[in-house]
């Protein structure tokens, strides 16, 4: 047996263990899938942090270009200058496109463990289906294991995002000290509405 097969067997043992912690197989299935989701969130978060740290300058450059044009378009809009608003918005959109595709690859960094988890679940639970209480449009009368893992993973990510906010000394993004935002600020419409003007700092940053 080669090292790869050993690794697969080891991983399988680690992943299946939580499924056996409860006597009731249904409880075990939900708990085991929950632990699997936590592994996915953990592995995705680590990869995302490594990736965004390696690419930090590149991503910041795209983002800063987009934010600069967006802020300009907001200024034009608030000054009722429709023509300049359209020009700046077009530029902001162009910059958004570039930033979007670069962030898309970061999406891959977050999500890569999920298909592997689904693939592994398919080897273990691929043959079972769970009957729904009532038939649902599109889904029909029963669902497979993916209908449990995918929503549970999304919930885990939402809760992880909430936990991260409350964690002390967490930098806003990799490569920064805690408390540093590291990103050029976008003009927030909420703030504009609250103050009745574009906040002073957005003009200060434009001083020549």
């Amino acid at each position: 047996m080669n090292w790869w097969d050993h690794l697969i067997i080891m991983l399988d043992l680690v992943l299946i263990a939580p499924y056996r912690w409860f006597e009731n197989p249904v409880n075990g299935f939900f708990f085991g899938t929950f632990v699997l989701c936590l592994w996915c969130v953990f592995a995705g978060e680590i990869t995302f942090r490594i990736g965004s740290w390696i690419n930090r300058n590149h991503i910041r450059r795209f983002r800063s270009n987009m934010v600069r044009m967006h802020n300009l378009s907001v200024k034009a809009l608030l000054l009722k200058d429709k023509e300049n608003y359209r020009a700046c918005n077009k530029e902001a959109n162009e910059a958004f496109g570039k930033y979007f595709f670069n962030m898309l690859t970061m999406g891959a960094a977050v999500l890569w463990p999920v298909p592997f988890a689904l693939g592994w679940m398919n080897t273990r639970f691929g043959h079972i289906e769970f009957a729904l209480l009532f038939p649902l449009p599109v889904l029909g009368q029963s669902v497979g294991f993916a209908a449990v893992l995918i929503p549970m993973y999304i919930l885990c990510r939402i809760f992880w995002a909430q936990i991260k906010k409350k964690m002390p000394d967490t930098p806003a993004e990799p490569g920064l000290k805690p408390g540093e935002t590291g990103q050029e600020e976008m003009i927030s419409m909420h703030e504009v509405e609250k103050e009745g003007r574009i906040p002073e700092r957005f003009w200060d940053s434009s001083k020549s």
């Binding site: 020009a87 670069n102 898309l104 891959a108 079972i128 009957a131 434009s206």
Partner: protein, 395 residues
């Protein structure tokens, strides 16, 4: 916060429904039923018609005699896809499709089955389509959802887009899953690639550059003017936010911070439908087409357009994926996972090569490639031969 709450509610509901089903299954464990794999029927049918030998070693999706996907090649190709995404953008989705069709040999394999064993052809073709959709669409969704945080939804546009998006994402997989042969799929994929190539080419022409240049110059001039302004002017607080000024089936007018905009609500519905249908049919991901579309149609600011399109992308993706899975389409999950890792690694390389290869040169290379791939796939779909074989035959 309310958006997160909304999302949490949505997925809690999905989980609740699954739990209800489980509770039901708990009462009667016999309710856990064996999956009646559609593919097994297709394999049996192909075996009976002599197109396939059930004793052959299992390959892609467990089909006897199907090509074994070399995950290492898939990984290397995905690095190329990631590199393209981070350098020239949209073409990355096409490159992902090329991988599934040509590089891993799935297209040629699907194409072998016809007549009574055509079910294998459509099953593999569906799998190619949905794999593209999962790989590109999910990553794009994460990226777009990040933008939801920044802006707000423009509800009428969001609803119009979502209606079109749900229709497109539901109808296309439901009507086409199991019915589209490889020849049909590849021809349409080729047309899409060719159209993208033409669009990319147009952007490089003086005419295509003109509007871009004009916007750039205007934005620069405006930036200079703004630099001279040292403080914010008070704004008319009676005109804050989005205010609907007229709403009828032909025209929606709204004032955004006092500036008037209007659009025909049919356009976002149609646009949402077409974009979602293309995305679901070809599996190319539709998010990148939506934001420019909304900006062009409704004139919304970029951050509102991004937030609004996130809603349409979200509902569209959920509908398409559920529809495909409900239609029994199979996915090679490890292949998708391997490709996501490759895309991520490729994106680390992109920024490091862009200093040596100018964007213009790259764009030109990909225009030539788009024309080659587009025409080749169209010819393959029509004649069943590659472009060079077709030209040699014609000569």
């Amino acid at each position: 916060m309310h958006k997160k709450f909304f999302l949490a509610c949505l997925f809690s509901l999905a989980l609740f429904l699954a739990l209800q089903g489980m509770a039901f299954a708990d009462v009667d464990v016999e309710e856990i039923i064996e999956d009646p794999h559609l593919l097994e029927e297709a394999i049996q049918s192909a075996h009976e018609s002599g197109h396939l030998d059930k004793d052959d070693p299992e390959g892609y999706l467990g089909i006897p005699g199907a090509p074994q996907i070399n995950l290492f090649i898939a990984f290397i190709w995905a690095i190329v896809v990631g590199w393209i995404f981070s350098t020239v953008g949209a073409f990355g989705g096409i490159a992902a499709g090329i991988g599934h069709i040509s590089i891993y040999g799935l297209g040629a394999y699907a194409d072998k089955f016809e007549g009574k064993s055509a079910a294998i052809n459509t099953a593999v073709t569906d799998s190619i389509r949905v794999s593209n959709q999962f790989m590109v669409g999910f990553s794009a969704l994460v990226s777009t959802l990040n933008y939801w945080k920044l802006g707000r939804l423009v509800i009428p546009v969001g609803i119009a887009l979502a209606i079109g998006s749900i229709l497109g994402s539901y109808l296309v997989p439901t009507l086409t899953a199991g019915r589209i042969s490889f020849e049909d799929y590849i021809s349409l994929f080729g047309i899409f690639v060719l159209a993208l190539g033409c669009w990319m080419f147009y952007q490089t022409t003086p005419r295509g550059q003109k509007s871009k240049k004009k916007a750039k110059e205007a934005a620069q001039a405006f930036e200079e003017t703004m630099k001279r302004k040292r403080s914010g002017e008070a704004i008319d607080t009676s005109e804050l936010g989005v205010k609907m000024t007229s709403f009828n089936p032909k025209k929606i007018s709204f004032a955004f911070y006092g500036v008037e905009f209007s659009f025909n609500p049919l356009f976002p519905i149609l646009g949402g439908f077409v974009i979602a249908a293309i995305a679901a049919f070809l599996g190319v991901g539709g998010g990148f087409m939506l934001v420019p579309f909304i900006t062009a149609v409704a004139g919304l600011p970029m951050y509102l357009a991004a937030g609004t399109s996130a809603l349409a992308v979200l509902v569209g993706m959920i509908t398409a994926i559920l529809s495909y899975l409900a239609a029994g389409v199979l996915v090679h999950w490890s292949l998708i996972g391997t490709q996501l890792v490759g895309i991520f690694i490729g994106s680390m390389i992109g920024p490091r090569t862009s200093q040596y290869i100018p964007e213009k040169v790259l764009t030109r290379i990909f225009i030539v490639l788009a024309f080659y791939v587009g025409i080749n796939y169209i010819i393959m779909g029509i004649t069943g031969t590659q472009i060079h074989e077709f030209l040699a035959g014609a000569g």
